[in-house]
Symmetry: C3
Subunit: 649 residues, 3 copies
């Protein structure tokens, strides 16, 4: 990414500790091979203890200390967590929730994205930080805010929402048309009547809710851009990022990532999840796709987190496995929240690189080993490309629209459907990118659409062109039902899409009850089924068996466009996609791998990752070196529990 290095380190919040601990921190950082720390994420109240005050001395000392020890600094603007005085002095900076309740200070992130007062304070502290540290030799990157995620339904947001809507629709007539306010007597006669979708008697207008989600993502983006513009003015040469949460509903990351120099993500697989490795792979694939190249793990946990109901530690080796899995998928930075585990506050049970057990604890030993691994890989791997022939289409707007009240089934969880499709391809060893429905698809042999309820006209044009130009398309259930205003397309699915797949009529959607399955020829479907009438020229691949849909098409295709009207059980989905990708000429990096072993190509190298708890022997035709162990591999190698090898041909 930068300097052909792999960054290794994490959030460093030294204001929690007396200064005598800092030198010990540096000693251990060097021992672990840490070359990058993030400073300042939660420092606003320390930097600006009262309105307009500035306390930079402690940060000066830290920047110098890092520089003296060869550790780069990712400097954060502290604007995610305003000091208590701001809410006290300016109550209008506090968000209000859907029910009108004030969101008070005493935790973090208590700011309204639309508050001009908040934005003014945020700009001022950002300006002063950039002015003071822009030329500091330790500075390597800007980290704007942190995990943008606040919502606001209050009067500040109402004003900003109206401005956003006026810019989008120009006239209330256009807004009324787009929102379908003729129904339920919701017509707005003036802009002033429009509110965020607050607590109401019954279901809220779904197009209003959708626009409010768009607005919220955009309002947060405005906050980001305002700060980014300030730091770029001071340091045009220093890259800027903000850390995404993984597969998070609140930000349209496709839209945001274009405004970042480096895309970074916080990723926290649950160690107890048997498919945590697939989850980590999916977030990596998605973030790389947003980045269009190397990306950063800005936060992960060396051990347990503290925000699940039950917070499981990582067993020995798992932290290394997931970290190297991310590197395999294009990450050029492996960072943690946080360097030293807190002794106080809300995150004291979130692990750190230095855990409560300290430098002699297992966690730090494993962190230090990983630091050495990354140092070994960096010269060869940093900056290299992780290629894919298959794209999974994903879209925030469709996700948002699909969550509306009054939909066919509350059991359809968009991220779970996407995950099921990614999982099928991941288990099959097929590398995947994520792509947006309107994006360039020509480079992909196969495009899959797990479930895009909403598709814009441009997206439909894009899909049609892709197939027309020789691409293979596989599409999941309830796709293309609505346009960008969440207006149901005539016939319940866009007519051109129906024609593409060979569907004459969508009679009804038949969502399934929780735990219910529907029999199809050769497998069982879950979650959803559809009552379809096939067109004369369609090829019905699989029919429903028994039940109300007996004999009707479950999977059908016309040419290279295939439609899957249910969610096949995992093994069936895997086989279905294996067949399609094989037919389209897609090949995994290595074939014949034992169960649980993943092979990922990055640049000239193949990463072999054993997700199993038992050692396995892997056949690797030809001769290779293992970059990690330095060993020569002839024909086969043994991977231990959670073991990794990086093969150089």
């Amino acid at each position: 990414m930068i300097n052909e290095r792999l960054l290794f380190g994490g959030d460093y919040n030294p204001e929690q500790w007396p200064e005598e601990v800092w030198s010990d921190d540096v000693r251990l950082m060097k021992q672990a091979g840490v070359n990058s720390v993030t400073l300042g994420v939660f420092s606003w109240a320390k930097l600006e203890p009262r309105p307009g005050a500035r306390e930079f001395g402690w940060l000066d000392r830290l920047m110098d200390l890092m520089h003296e020890n060869g550790i780069g600094v990712v400097l954060a603007t502290p604007t995610a967590s305003p000091p208590p005085w701001m809410g006290k002095l300016h109550p209008e900076t506090l968000p209000r929730d859907e029910d009108g309740r004030t969101v008070w200070w005493g935790s973090r992130q208590q700011f309204s994205h639309s508050s001009l007062v908040y934005r003014r304070y945020a700009a001022a502290i950002t300006e002063d930080l950039a002015a003071r540290y822009g030329s500091h030799p330790a500075l390597t990157m800007w980290h704007i805010n942190n995990e943008y995620c606040t919502h606001d339904w209050g009067d500040e947001a109402a004003r900003a929402f109206r401005d956003w809507l006026r810019a989008k629709y120009t006239s209330t007539e256009a807004l009324n048309e787009a929102w379908g306010t003729a129904f339920w007597s919701q017509r707005y006669d003036s802009w002033e009547e429009i509110l965020p979708p607050r607590r109401a008697q019954y279901m809220k207008n779904p197009a209003q809710v959708l626009d409010f989600k768009r607005f919220t993502s955009d309002a947060l983006l405005e906050c980001y851009l305002a700060e980014r513009d300030i730091v770029v003015r001071h340091t045009p040469h220093i890259p800027v990022t903000t850390n995404f949460m993984p597969f998070w509903t609140g930000q349209d990351a496709w839209k945001w990532s274009g405004h970042e120099d480096i895309v970074s993500v916080d990723v926290y697989p649950d160690p107890k999840d048997p498919w945590a490795g697939q989850y980590n792979a999916m977030i990596g694939d998605m973030t790389r796709s947003q980045a269009g190249g190397p990306w950063m793990v800005m936060e992960q946990a060396a051990g347990p987190v503290n925000w699940r109901g039950v917070n499981h530690p990582k067993p020995p080796g798992l932290n290394r496995l997931f970290s190297l899995q991310s590197v395999a998928r294009g990450a050029d930075a492996i960072c943690y929240f946080q360097w030293r585990q807190s002794r106080q506050g809300s995150e004291k049970y979130h692990s750190g690189m230095v855990s409560h057990a300290g430098e002699h604890g297992r966690t730090f030993r494993e962190v230090a080993r990983l630091g050495a691994d990354l140092a070994r890989l960096a010269p060869e791997v940093a900056g290299a490309h992780s290629p894919s022939q298959v794209a999974i289409l994903h879209d925030w707007e469709s996700w948002w629209a699909g969550q509306q009240d009054g939909r066919p089934s509350v059991h359809v969880e968009y991220p779970e459907v996407v995950r099921a499709w990614h999982h099928a391809l991941w288990e099959e060893g097929v590398a995947t990118d994520f792509a947006r429905p309107e994006g360039a698809l020509g480079a992909y042999a196969v495009v899959v659409v797990p479930h895009l309820y909403l598709l814009t006209d441009a997206a439909i044009d894009n899909l049609l062109a892709y197939v027309r130009d020789g691409g293979t398309l596989v599409c999941g259930f309830h796709t293309g039902a609505a346009d960008e205003d969440d207006r149901v397309r005539p016939g319940g699915m866009d007519a051109r899409l129906r024609e593409l797949f060979g569907i004459r009529t969508v009679q009804e959607w038949w969502p399934l009850d929780a735990g219910e399955a529907v029999e199809c020829e050769g497998f069982r479907g879950t979650l959803w089924s559809e009552e379809l009438e096939a067109a004369a020229d369609a090829e019905v691949l699989v029919r429903y068996k028994g039940g109300e849909l007996d004999g009707l098409p479950a999977v059908l295709r016309r040419g290279r466009a295939q439609y899957v009207s249910t969610l096949p059980e995992p093994e069936a989905l895997r086989e279905l996609l294996a067949g399609v990708t094989r037919e389209a000429g897609v090949r995994p990096p290595l074939s014949g791998l034992p169960a649980g072993v993943e092979a990922v190509r990055r640049g000239a190298f193949v990463f072999l990752l054993n997700h199993g708890r038992d050692p396995v022997t892997v056949d690797v035709p030809g001769s290779h070196d293992d970059l990690l162990s330095g060993a020569s591999i002839e024909g086969s190698l043994v991977l231990g529990r959670y073991g990794v090898a990086v093969l150089r041909p």
Copy 2:
């Protein structure tokens, strides 16, 4: 009902569509045999786009269009859904919930029933609608508001609640006495201290909560009556209705129905419920009983609804089956929400008579077939009587009181208990009316009381007189425990009732845990049991077996009055009630029917309805015509899946 016709049609919301769609609507309506549409339910913001404005042109055109095509109009007052400007201009018209949260616009029904401003606007638009269309030849009926259901705990409601209480109790002393405020130091010294039962530290006063539910139903009734009086002044000859929700807690429909010319209901059985047919029958029986004769299905769904967690479509034939089942039980109108399925807004996934699939879709084909059926039946069936010899007593006030905090068991769901008893009789082929506890019962051979926790003195007198005059009474658990102020009657059950059934002492109620059953001689009881001491002259029919109540009476009687102190499992309850009704001389219209086949008498006809998914042969002694198919039936006939025949002797 009117004109010896069966009305067929539905809510028509053409303001959602460009006018060019209207002529297509008319074409399809005629194709389907539609003879009635409901206009204006959600049109307030279109009719009155800003305070005092009037936009009638579009409605003029629609009224004329309907008339030109022979389609009658049920004209709705649009007052269920005020325009956004009303809340903006008059925030006091918005309801507040129990927690003091404002219920904003952006959905529907955001009005406080007690707001004088809301009522003034509602009266004005009603006045102008009645003046303008009262003499329009298309007008056949008034439909006031829609599904009255709003609550308000705010200051407007507080004022009105105090007025209502002052009228009921005259003095605070009487109120304190009725509410039992001597307990927990709740004594009110002045009317001004009294509030709706808002969020509190612990359980709320149950008599206050009960009065608040009475008040809420009455406040809504006042809204209804105000509008009804206006339209009646303009059009004394035009019948007036408002559509009830089925078995809905918010309105005391016994009290309301006396103020309607025609009683109508919205009924939405869940197609996935294996007993959806029984549910539809129960709502029909209840609505007919409120109407005292023919009634209307004002709304049902041609396919799925959109407000359940999972919204199941109707399989082929089910819509017709349920519609004809309602006709069999006295409905003279089969209408839908809504004519054409929306493409936008909160109900776009609620089906329409014309679904998203359009005129060639399965849904519309089935609707059109039903239209033809109804046209065939109308001349013979409309207005005819559906007789019953058995009454089920039901009472809103008892339901309300029984829901209080601090009751013996939260698992007793009043509607489920009533449904269990109706189900038992329905499966047995016994036609039932619903009646109020204080109503005339003399015409019934058997009266059953599933569970009336609260019984007024008048109701008890009525039951005693009924038995004294030769009636057979069967009473379920926890009945007659409280008086009309929710004051527990001495001994835990009214002394005269105890004497009636032969109960000497009610020692304790023993509610059962969820899923728990109690053994009785010959069956298992669910939900509830009682520790009773029988009187010397009681006949103990069934005793508890084992457990803490071993050997104590579970079912006992004195003469023709029987008490069932638990809820027998379905088959046991069916046998119990079969025995009682047979003994009392009650006979089903046809005997020896195959499982799943229902026979219902209406006028001279017997409707045969197959609720099963397989064809069955039904023996029908003698010769009949089938009004639907026109076929002659000699001795037996075959009913297909969801098949229906209407036999004329």
Copy 3:
């Protein structure tokens, strides 16, 4: 306790009944042997119907009536339930919840503990009550308020919380340090910025939440002390109590009990709970330990309560069994809520000593029998000591701290863990006291610590000294992790504790999923496990088997200090503690008891209690009298269902 009597009676709320019922009450009280009633708990609105008014006449008559009939009066200050006029006139006396919602009147306990207005009114009515009845001959005890439990997050509480914090910390610097506000930018620059922990975006500062719980308990204690000081001024000779709720989170009863002359508790075992007897025993042991001698059951239920989801009656005999079990554990008063079951209000389905079934009902018959039993026991048993050789350490502050957001597992319910340990000892027949971590422990042969997450330095010193002086200590999982500011101790567990138990490193806590178990040598652990490294001189008693912790220590000890890093399944915990107590020389009062039979020593007597529903024969070596039946016991006796005998040697 007083007068060598056992008090018997209950809350008496005669203001619910016409005066003619009062004489009937007295007749039945005498029939049942009632010698004490509590008056006035909910009488504020009757005593002070409007601000400043006084209506004492009815209470004068009642005090005289009781006195004339030899029934003592526990007189309550009525301050738990302010009259409606107070909230109306002074809205600031109403609490606000965490979300800012007002807690209205219409229930009970709607007062802010921090409201000066409330406190002024409460002091005035207390003053007048004490002045009027201080010398009344019926008065035997003062009962201050009732079940102190209100919370307030509003502005009144904010002001008082700041005062409390200022007194504790003196400077904001010290507060910032203690709360760890350097993290998440929470630093407070002035006292005025500090709030109660109100609704926030994410997790709240755990030290702030902990201090707010301390403050709330202290604010309620201030309310209590203010009233206590008034009555003591008038009647220094009359004892004062306030009734605790059992094992209740809201009050630090260790701190409170020192301010009471008599400690009393309200105890409501669920009759359906198969271990209700153990629960009743635990509350008795805990209350006796707070009292340091005889104590009171201020409230229990003669039959069902009304606040559970399903409220089960007590089967015949259970009320007597639990009452005598409490006497065995040191109770000198057996009282009920309430004398006569209400017919109105929120508690009409809570049983009374006189149930709805009245004097001929089973409940009253059993109450009267118990009254006779207690009269028989009183001369011998009242005031006698119930000895224990084992102490269970329990601490409110640790409980509070352990409930914080962001902890390792939400499944750890502190009271359930304590209950599991008490249960193990109870089943083993070992008598237990409860003690505070900083309390005197020298008298105990064994001290057990089920789970004390937070331990102060003083508590750790205390434990170390206890072991050093020859005591045996057994400590459960996740103990000693935090200091009194909820700061994690270095290494995740205090270093001296680690040394005490022989633990070198606490690598990670491994909480278990719901329902998950972890295999150990010889048993299965639940809820929690730990990754520990044993010190060289530790004795590993049990190791984990299989899973991620295979071979690591599950139970270890050094000398007489043992650490149990999981929650063994019940039978295993019982065996573990049986071994430890036996080894330490602890002996139950009687050995070889049949299952379900409990033996408890009080003074010279041994109570034998059969918790089973079948009669059992119990071997009792030697000759005894049974105080209850008067029978002579030679070698063995038969206890019937729920039977009790009190053996005099």
